[in-house]
């Protein structure tokens, strides 16, 4: 699914990622943890194609394609989804209109017919249940005046509608209270499938109580300092990231 090889990236000429390697296979859930400033969000945004980040070295293969050469919208249509850490507000842009436009862009890219209004409504209804989101939010402007939890649910709703191959969730758990965290986690779990991979970027291990990862990687200073399973996350929680920085 995803092969990252020796990835270096910089923001404003300041190196953030410094030779990162990662391999994600279909159906796997990878958690990427690390202290603030270690490069977690940079990794997520570089994979999505944000032009504010310069890739200075390295190679990323996504489903056999060279990801870094693809425009952000092509990456999206090929099934790469990023749930943003800070979902942006779009005044006046109806949530449904955005969802439909996004879905149709993907269908069109696949050479399929656009979805008709009735089918779309049916789809939305079933997906709303997954994220337990208030129907009313659908007809509001995207994220405008949404609470923090509603914004994050809205990201998961978009993911549920677009059914990506590779979902990258950038600190989707941050700022959520325990109820919202459970709902969002349930949403993620429902979308688990043998063909879908999930990369969970997080600062805290608590979301891993609800979404069980196959692998846990600790990112420190732009490189993966250690990889392991669920136990590693618990260890980090007990001993802090300092323990690993010291090890390095």
């Amino acid at each position: 699914m995803l092969e990252i090889e020796n990835l270096h990236a910089a923001v404003d000429q300041k190196p953030i990622l410094k030779g990162l390697n990662l391999s994600v296979k279909p159906g796997e859930i990878h958690a990427i943890m690390g202290p603030n400033g270690s490069g977690k969000s940079t990794l997520a945004n570089v994979l999505a194609g944000d032009e504010n980040y310069d890739v200075t070295q390295g190679n990323v293969m996504y489903q056999g394609m060279s990801l870094l050469e693809m425009a952000p919208e092509i990456r999206a249509r090929e099934g790469l989804f990023l749930a943003f850490q800070y979902p942006v507000e779009m005044p006046g842009v109806n949530n449904m209109v955005l969802l439909k436009a996004a879905l149709n862009a993907k269908l069109k890219h696949q050479g399929k017919e656009e979805i008709d209004a009735a089918d779309f409504l049916k789809l939305i209804k079933s997906r709303l249940e997954i994220v337990e989101m208030d129907r009313k939010l659908l007809n509001r402007s995207v994220n405008e005046g949404f609470s923090g939890g509603e914004k994050k649910r809205n990201e998961i709703l978009q993911m549920a509608v677009l059914e990506p191959q590779l979902a990258i969730l950038d600190e989707t758990d941050s700022g959520l209270d325990i109820d919202a965290l459970q709902t969002v986690s349930r949403g993620i779990n429902q979308l688990k499938s043998p063909s879908r991979s999930i990369v969970l970027v997080t600062h805290y291990q608590r979301i891993l109580d609800y979404v069980s990862p196959d692998f846990v990687h600790i990112l420190i200073n732009g490189q993966i300092a250690m990889s392991g399973d669920r136990e590693l996350a618990l260890e980090v929680e007990k001993r802090g990231y300092g323990w690993l920085e010291f090890q390095n």
Partner: protein, 482 residues
């Protein structure tokens, strides 16, 4: 409601769509302006003496005026002797009496523009008056409207058949001495639309005029007069296009609306005159005076405009709120791309007690476009409890364009409440990236954001036209990013 992405992509990939020229012989006066030219126009139209005198008086006054210079607009000097003031497609010996007799080339022109003047094919519920250069070539659904006592015809016909109404109302809202361009129009206007809705009648269909400039060097000087009698209601829409030409052409129209007691007039404009090319060459100079009066109590006038065309737009659709409890509204989207300039806004003149007005203006600037909102809210001493709410938002796309806001407030009654809000924003990089991450192209993303920005205005348009307005905006935004 929404345009599918496919439709958006389709329209984005097009340039100015209406730039073709209809190959048709026309009867035109030679370029130039003089009393003699005015006499000829009046004679061709077979006008009564009072109207000729009215024109000549306006002309003589116009000669004493100079072009207004207070707006933000810069344009080439207009040579008023180099303009053709009358041009009409050559008609058969006798004027066509029914739609079947109209030159098929004209029918074809309107068909190409998507304007149905064939009643069989027409959108149900929309009557059209089609104005080609200086004359009205067809008006549809006249008979049906007649059943309600509604008069919907070309201005020339109204002069012939209803001279008393013309005499009573012409120039009653925009006097012939009002301003430079209104005086010019009063002197040389050649045609336009006329609407009269009798007491208590709610017009059963949308009325619309479609203005097309075809002939080179010709100016278009139409006049629209709408009278809504007590308790009546009418919704009217105008659309405008012109061929692509390198030289600038002048359009100087006058629109007058009269709403009597308890009457409502809704006037919507989709203005898409040729805006000029990417270097700013050519395009229509659009200098228009539009004003309505809420004459009686509880009357309401609502202006909605979507201005995407013209090299230069200078217009301030206004409402005089004379009646008590009368309501004035102005909803505007003005888009300037390439080298387009717009100086547009409104005037709300509160005279009646408890009169209320709302102004929502959305300016979008892209490329080297310059966009100015200029609005006046005046509350007269007797306008107890007058209320105004104004909101002016500007959206900038790129860093070569400009947005300006000039609100003028004159409040002479202490019980009045006047609110003004303004904002300027740029399309955010993070919004664009978010849309792209969801699979949308940059053009689609811009369309979506801009349409969202204009939503409050688009919802005021009749349904069919809201769709058209969205399409237009997408076309006009082509290449405005990146």
């Amino acid at each position: 409601m929404g345009l599918s992405q496919e439709e958006l992509v389709d329209v984005i990939s097009q340039e100015y769509q209406h730039g073709f020229v209809t190959d048709i012989e026309s009867d035109a006066l030679p370029p130039g302006l003089s009393e003699d030219v005015i006499r000829q126009i009046s004679k061709i139209k077979g006008e009564p003496e009072f109207l000729l005198e009215w024109r000549l008086e306006a002309y003589r006054h116009w000669l004493t005026l100079t072009e207004p210079k207070w707006s933000t607009i810069n344009h080439h000097t207009i040579d008023y002797q180099d303009i053709t003031y009358y041009s009409a497609p050559r008609a058969p010996e006798n004027q066509p009496t029914s739609l079947d007799e109209i030159d098929p080339r004209l029918l074809e022109t309107y068909e190409k523009l998507g304007i149905p003047i064939d009643e069989q094919k027409a959108l149900s519920g929309i009557a059209v008056d089609a104005v080609f250069d200086s004359v009205s070539v067809a008006t549809t659904f006249k008979d049906k409207l007649n059943e309600y006592g509604i008069i919907f015809c070309s201005f020339s016909e109204a002069v012939k058949n209803h001279p008393d109404l013309i005499k009573k109302y012409l120039g009653s809202v925009v006097p012939p001495r009002d301003n430079f361009f209104a005086s010019l129009n009063s002197a040389v206007f050649s045609d336009g639309s006329f609407v009269y809705v009798p007491k208590g009648v709610h017009c059963p269909m949308e009325l619309s005029s479609y203005f097309r400039i075809n002939a080179a060097k010709s100016g278009q000087f139409e006049r629209t007069l709408i009278i809504a009698e007590e308790g009546s209601k009418v919704s009217y829409l105008e659309g405008c296009t012109a061929p692509m030409r390198d030289e600038n052409q002048l359009h100087a129209a006058v629109v007058e609306l009269i709403a009597h007691k308890d009457a409502q007039i809704k006037y919507s404009t989709i203005q898409n005159w040729y805006p000029g090319d990417k270097e700013g060459k050519g395009g229509i100079y659009n200098f228009v005076t539009k004003r309505g009066i809420c004459k009686g109590d509880n009357a309401k006038i609502s202006w909605t405009q979507v201005e995407t065309g013209s090299a230069v737009t200078w217009k301030y659709p206004s409402v005089i709120l004379k009646g008590d409890n009368s309501v004035g509204e102005f909803y505007s989207v003005a888009l300037t791309g390439n080298y387009q300039q717009a100086d547009t806004g409104t005037k709300m003149i509160h005279i009646g007690k408890n009169s209320r007005s709302t102004i929502i203006s959305k300016g979008i600037s892209a490329g080297h476009g310059q966009n100015a909102y200029r609005g006046l809210v005046r509350v007269a001493p007797g306008a107890e409890n007058a209320r105004n709410y104004s909101q002016c938002d500007s959206l900038l796309i790129g860093d070569q364009c400009g947005a300006h806001t000039f609100p003028y407030l004159e409040v002479r009654n202490p019980t009045a409440k006047v609110e003004h809000e303004a904002s300027t924003s740029k399309i955010g990089e993070s919004q664009l990236f978010f849309c792209k991450q969801r699979g949308l192209s940059e053009e689609d993303a811009v369309s979506l954001i801009v349409n969202g920005f204009c939503k409050e205005v688009f919802k005021e348009l009749p349904m069919e036209f809201a769709v058209e307005a969205r399409k237009l905006l997408s076309i006009s935004l082509e290449d405005s990013v990146g």
